[in-house]
């Protein structure tokens, strides 16, 4: 008995592996041509790369210098402190994951506060105090390698976000002084390349500040400040874009129920604006992270700086390919992790949106 509602199966050529192949790879003659051409090209490249990686490459340069790549000039006797920091972060990440997955509302605040405490603890642990303490001081100036890259990236991201939000709010402020200052800051910074900002931080700052102050600021700290302010200007513009997308009715509804302007901003407008701008802001963070490689120019040894130094050693001459392939892979992994985190965040915050 056939009824009108009985499910009719699609033709066999339209489903399964064959259907997929036909639809996606060999739909027309030029599709087929492109498919064959691409497969041929990819095979050649892949063969070349694997062949080189497995037989020709001298990976010894990476394995021998792995510590140098990771921590640069950080004293090897103190490396346990780095492991301890990584351990702390891993524990925190695990706790956070559990709390969020099980949706334990009451623990969230505790977790947020612990993150701040743990972060400060890590900074103290890594930088140390003075001589004759269990954790002797390791001056920022000698931080290098992947450790420096990550430090600059994390500090830049964490510090530039709130500054950027404040600048964006400042640019929309009704107070002329704040508005003009924010607008000028954003426009000037955006009108200048990052390298210029780094040079200003390195070379010009000592001219402006008394020697007693500028002498104490290590190169790394100055670069951190420069990169943070640079990134903050771009974050501010992203946030401003998000703020503009919020309809006037949202402000009015907030005011009409009696909320003051600060609450309207913090509870209604900013959450929506930031949520909408997550992809753009994370994009800015990824580019900030990659731009940390520019610090080589002002003499800091980040991951790329170390890579260059390693290839300069006489025993490893001719190993640029291996070294830079390795650095590339590390950048790829860290950047993918960032964009993965961004997608997760978007998904989690996007529940029920419109």
């Amino acid at each position: 008995m056939t009824t009108a509602t009985e499910v009719m199966k699609p033709p066999r050529t339209e489903v399964g592996v064959l259907g997929w192949l036909k639809k996606n790879l060999f739909g027309t003659w030029y599709d087929a041509l492109l498919t064959v051409g691409s497969v041929a090209f990819i095979s050649v490249v892949l063969y070349g790369v694997t062949n080189w990686a497995l037989t020709g490459a001298k990976w010894g340069v990476v394995t021998t210098n792995i510590k140098v790549f990771m921590v640069g000039r950080y004293p090897y006797s103190e490396i346990w402190r780095i492991w301890a920091s990584i351990g702390l972060f891993a524990v925190m990440a695990a706790i956070t994951g559990v709390v969020w997955r099980l949706n334990i509302a009451r623990a969230r605040r505790a977790v947020t506060i612990s993150w701040i405490v743990v972060s400060l603890l890590t900074v103290v642990l890594l930088a140390g105090f003075g001589e004759n303490t269990p954790i002797p001081r390791v001056p920022l100036a000698i931080w290098s390698g992947l450790m420096l890259t990550l430090t600059l990236g994390i500090v830049g991201i964490v510090a530039s976000f709130p500054i950027g939000v404040l600048l964006a709010l400042g640019r929309r402020s009704n107070l002329p002084v704040i508005k003009v200052f924010s607008t000028m800051f954003i426009e000037i910074v955006r009108g200048v390349p990052l390298i210029t900002v780094l040079f200003i931080a390195m070379l010009m700052l000592p001219l402006f500040l008394p020697a007693s102050i500028s002498g104490r600021l290590s190169n790394v700290l100055r670069v951190m400040v420069g990169m943070t302010l640079f990134s903050a200007a771009y974050v501010a513009e992203n946030v401003r874009g998000g703020l503009q997308a919020i309809p006037k009715g949202q402000y009015e509804a907030g005011r009409a129920v009696g909320l003051n302007e600060a609450y309207v901003m913090a509870l209604i407008v900013l959450p929506q604006a930031l949520r909408a701008m997550i992809p753009a802001i994370v994009g800015q963070f990824i580019s900030l992270y990659k731009d940390t490689s520019l610090v080589v120019i002002v003499g800091l040894l980040d991951l790329l700086g170390i890579a260059k130094a390693v290839t300069g050693q006489t025993e490893w001459i001719g190993t640029q390919k291996e070294v830079f392939a390795f650095a590339g892979v590390i950048y790829f992994i860290t950047c993918s992790a960032l964009s993965y985190a961004s997608r997760r965040l978007e998904k989690q915050l996007g529940v029920g949106e419109r």
């Binding site: 005011r255 009409a256 529940v351």
Partner: protein, 255 residues
């Protein structure tokens, strides 16, 4: 109910507008409006679009600023003093044409937000009151949904609950049914009728003449920035004096 309302009408006025003027740039939107609203009174304002009727109620809770004239709400003068503005906004609940719910919060969070942050209620108390209000507007089962998951009529009812959560003495409705699909208008009007018969002081900007006839004490015809004429519903429909009112009525009643 009737007795209660007429009894309350002897007490002081809830809203007084005296010679209120407002300009948008060079455009003179409100041209010396005088309006008095007694406690428990339900007033419907109708009139052509662009006549300034929405602007008038938005001026009374300072979503727009008036440039000349005096406004008093429950004895509080509307001045530039932000404390007066906040005090007045807490007296008045507002329902918008486009609902203006907060899309990132669930229905119940929309309702509890202001009580928690303005009235400083505990979360538990605010939620208890919010659930009662959602019950009252007939959608208790939608509490955990986001505005985007609700129909227009349901969203507008959440918006009414959100306004009521601050326990206002006066409710403003700014064309509350204009953005709704026809089959959802009644569910919102029913809630408004329930409020009106319960003794709430209300100003409703609307063209729902059935609602006006049923529950309003006064209907005001507004045109070109001022009140053209006002009458109780029976007289308003049958014995309009002004030509403009007659024209308007003929347009909206025989469309």
């Amino acid at each position: 109910m009737e007795n209660e309302r007429s009894g309350a009408s002897e007490t002081r006025e809830m809203i007084i507008c005296r010679d209120v003027h407002k300009w948008f740039g060079d455009f003179h939107v409100l041209r010396g409006v005088n309006l008095t609203l007694r406690r428990g009174e339900v007033v419907v304002i109708c009139g052509p679009s662009g006549s300034g009727k929405s602007t008038l109620i938005r001026t009374i809770n300072r979503l727009e600023e008036h440039q000349k004239g005096d406004i008093f709400v429950d004895g509080i003068e509307l001045t530039h003093d932000i404390r007066n503005v906040h005090a007045i906004r807490q007296e008045i609940g507002m329902v918008f044409q486009h609902f203006n719910l907060f899309p990132h919060l669930t229905a119940i969070q929309n309702v509890t937000l202001a009580p928690i942050y303005v009235r400083r209620w505990s979360k538990d108390k605010a939620e208890e009151v919010a659930r009662q209000l959602l019950e009252r507007v007939g959608i208790p089962e939608q509490a955990e949904k986001y505005p985007g998951q609700l129909s227009g009529g349901q969203q507008q009812r959440v918006a009414i609950a959100r306004a009521l959560a601050m326990q206002p003495k006066i409710m403003f409705f700014d064309e509350p049914t204009s953005a709704l699909d026809p089959e959802m208008i009644k569910e919102v009007l029913d809630v408004m009728v329930e409020l009106a018969t319960g003794g709430m002081t209300m100003i409703v900007v609307t063209h729902e003449m059935g609602f006006a006839r049923e529950v309003s004490d006064r209907i005001i015809f507004f045109d070109e920035g001022n009140i053209v004429e006002e009458n109780p519903p029976d007289k308003f429909f049958s014995a309009a004096k002004e030509e403009r009112t007659k024209l308007f009525l003929s347009q909206i009643l025989h469309q």
